[in-house]
Structures are given as structure tokens and as C-alpha cells.
Symmetry: C2
Subunit: 205 residues, 2 copies
């Protein structure tokens, strides 16, 4: 047993405290000092670990993306595979989105909004979310493929469009949920809406 906290573990705890700060006070409210206080560590600990505010923000983004990846991996494994038919239960995607309405996933979702809004003026930030963003899109494509009417020919361009529309809707929904919207009440209801969107788009071809 070590007496001193593991340095990597300490950095993760600082990042987690920073995620909560970001969610509550926004990017304007983030500082080394506030993270020290929120994490209950001696003054200077955060700036010792992350020399600049940019370094802190990048580490926080990496932490959010890593936690996102964990959840995305679970959601992907939980989704029925394409070909299982659309009656095989609630999608992992719908469960993932509904989970973002409370607790730590809601806090992380609010923090992610703050970080993503910065990402078009910070390539390192944009890069931090690249991998999880790709997995997130792949999860939408899986849902779209699973929802194709059986026997229909599948044209890649149509799948692309449907995945884009679905992902755009889900992006809007996650933002709305992060702002406190709770219009959609269950993963089943969300799956029904996603299914209707895809079937509406499929039908017009």
C-alpha cells in the first residue's frame, strides 16, 4: 500500500473535479485554484499537475472522451446486431442518451458542451473528441442499418444520409437534455422516434 496518492490517479481526480466545475460554471469559471478547492487538495496541486489553463482543459477533454468511450463501448455491445430485426429490444444508443439526463453522465454532458464549443478554435481539443466521435457515429449507423425495412436494397448514400439525420437529431437532443429538457421519458419512446425518423427517410426513396 502506498501512502502517497498515485500521480496518475491524482490527475484523474483533478480532472473529475474540473468536469463538475465546467458543468456548473462554464469555461469562464475554470481555474487552477477553483479545481484545487473543488478537489479538496492543497493550493497549487492543479497548477503543479497542469502547468497552463490550456493543459488543464486538454486533460479534462481527454478524461471526458475516455469516459465517453467506456459508455460507447457498453452501448455498442448492448445493441442488437444488424439483422436481428427491429423488435429485439431497446437500443444501446437510446439507453446511452437517456442515461445522460441524470447524475454523472449529465454533469459530463454539460462539461462536454462547454469543451466542444471551444473545439473549433483549438485543434488539440477537437482531436481529443475525434475517436469517441467516430464511435458515436458508428453507433448511429448500426441503429440505421438495423432499422432498414427488410428486403429493401441498401444504398450507402441513403444510409449516410439517415445516419447524419439521426446523429443531428441526437446531438440536438443531448444538448436539450443537458439544458434540463425531459420531454422524452424513456429509452423505448426514443427508440420509437428514431425508428420513425429512419422509416420516414427510407420511404421517400
Amino acid at each position: 500500500m502506498r501512502r502517497k496518492p498515485d500521480p496518475e490517479q491524482r490527475r484523474l481526480e483533478l480532472c473529475d473535479a474540473a468536469i463538475t466545475l465546467l458543468a456548473e460554471d462554464g469555461i469562464k469559471g475554470l481555474s487552477h485554484r477553483k479545481v484545487d478547492r473543488a478537489a479538496g487538495v492543497p493550493d497549487g496541486t492543479t497548477s503543479f499537475n497542469f502547468r497552463t489553463l490550456a493543459a488543464l482543459v486538454h486533460a479534462v477533454a481527454a478524461r471526458v472522451a475516455a469516459l465517453d468511450l467506456e459508455e460507447l463501448t457498453i452501448a455498442t455491445a448492448a445493441s442488437p446486431a444488424a439483422g436481428d430485426g427491429e423488435t429485439s429490444g431497446v437500443s444501446g444508443l437510446a439507453r446511452l442518451i437517456m442515461r445522460s439526463s441524470t447524475g454523472p453522465p449529465l454533469i459530463r454532458s454539460r462539461a462536454r458542451l462547454e469543451l466542444v464549443l471551444q473545439s473549433h478554435r483549438d485543434v488539440t481539443l477537437a482531436e481529443a473528441f475525434r475517436h469517441s466521435g467516430e464511435l458515436f457515429l458508428a453507433l448511429h449507423r448500426d441503429v440505421v442499418l438495423r432499422l432498414q425495412p427488410s428486403g429493401a436494397e441498401i444504398e450507402p448514400a441513403h444510409i449516410d444520409e439517415q445516419a447524419y439525420v439521426l446523429q443531428t437529431f441526437i446531438g440536438g437532443l443531448m444538448t436539450a437534455i443537458a439544458h434540463g429538457d425531459n420531454t422524452i421519458e424513456s429509452a423505448e419512446q426514443l427508440d420509437g422516434i428514431m425508428s420513425a425518423i429512419v422509416s420516414g427517410l427510407s420511404a421517400r426513396r
Copy 2:
């Protein structure tokens, strides 16, 4: 002819400069001094007109909302009324969204994202966007009503759900466009997608 700039006109010019700053540098990058420089006015002009940073942010939000209202009014007038049938041309909503991909509407859209992200911790900010938000929702309801299959009985709860889904999709799309996404190429294409979403949702009832 006045020699001195009209005080109200001067404040609007400062707000417009602040909108561009917000879009480029985010809420973190906004300060009285930077607005003075961006507007090309003597140092101190912005802090004379808006004593606190909060007062400046609230004035900028009011300016964004006023410009939004102008565009929303045009978009509402341009949309065919319910009952005109769905072949009567491109919706004002689709045109409004596509216009947000370039020029001053894109800058305003980026600034609005920054402000809206603050609005859940600032009631005055939230209030600034209340009226335009209501008009924006009404515009979605008009599109949904216009797209109902003819002869179908219209249940208010279904209209509400369809308007919610459409607005959530459009919210995600405006955010994507503000971040540089240009997947959707025309108002006609966007109208086709909105029509498919509504018909998919209508069909499952």
C-alpha cells in the same frame, strides 16, 4: 444632422462588435476593452455604455434576439400557410436555417451558442431568448401542421411530439452548421428531410 453618434445607435454598434468577438473567441474572450478595439471606438466607450460584463452580455443577447426576431418574422411570412398543401415551395424555416451557414447569420449563430450555453445559469439571459424561442417553436409547428397527411385527424399530442422532434433536429443542425458542417446543401434538401421526419412520425400512429 447630428455630429455626435446617437447613443442608442452607438450601443447597437458595440453589441454588433461584441457578437463578432463572441463568435470568434467565445465567452472567455469577451471584455469591454476588446469590444472598444473591435468597434474602433475610444477606450472606455464600452464600459461607459455597459458598466459590467454582465450588462454587456445581456445587451448582446438582446441584440442577437432582436435580429433573430427580424429573421423569424420574415421566415414566418415566407412560409406557406397550413392548408396550402406541401407542394407550395420551400419553407421559410428551411431558408432560415440554410442562411445561417454563411455571413452575419453564421457569426450570430456562433455567438448565440455561446450565450445559450450560459443561459441555464443566468435567468436574464434565458429571458432574452424567450420570445424568439417561442416564435421559433411556432415556426416548427406551422411546418408540422402543413406536412400532415391530408384527411388525417390531427391530435394535438402528436403535433406536439412532431414539433418537438423537428425542433430538436433543427437545433442539432444549427449547432452543426455553426461548427462548420455543410452536409445539407440546399433548403429543398432540408425540406425533404423535414417532410420525411414528419411523415415517419405520422405513419406510426
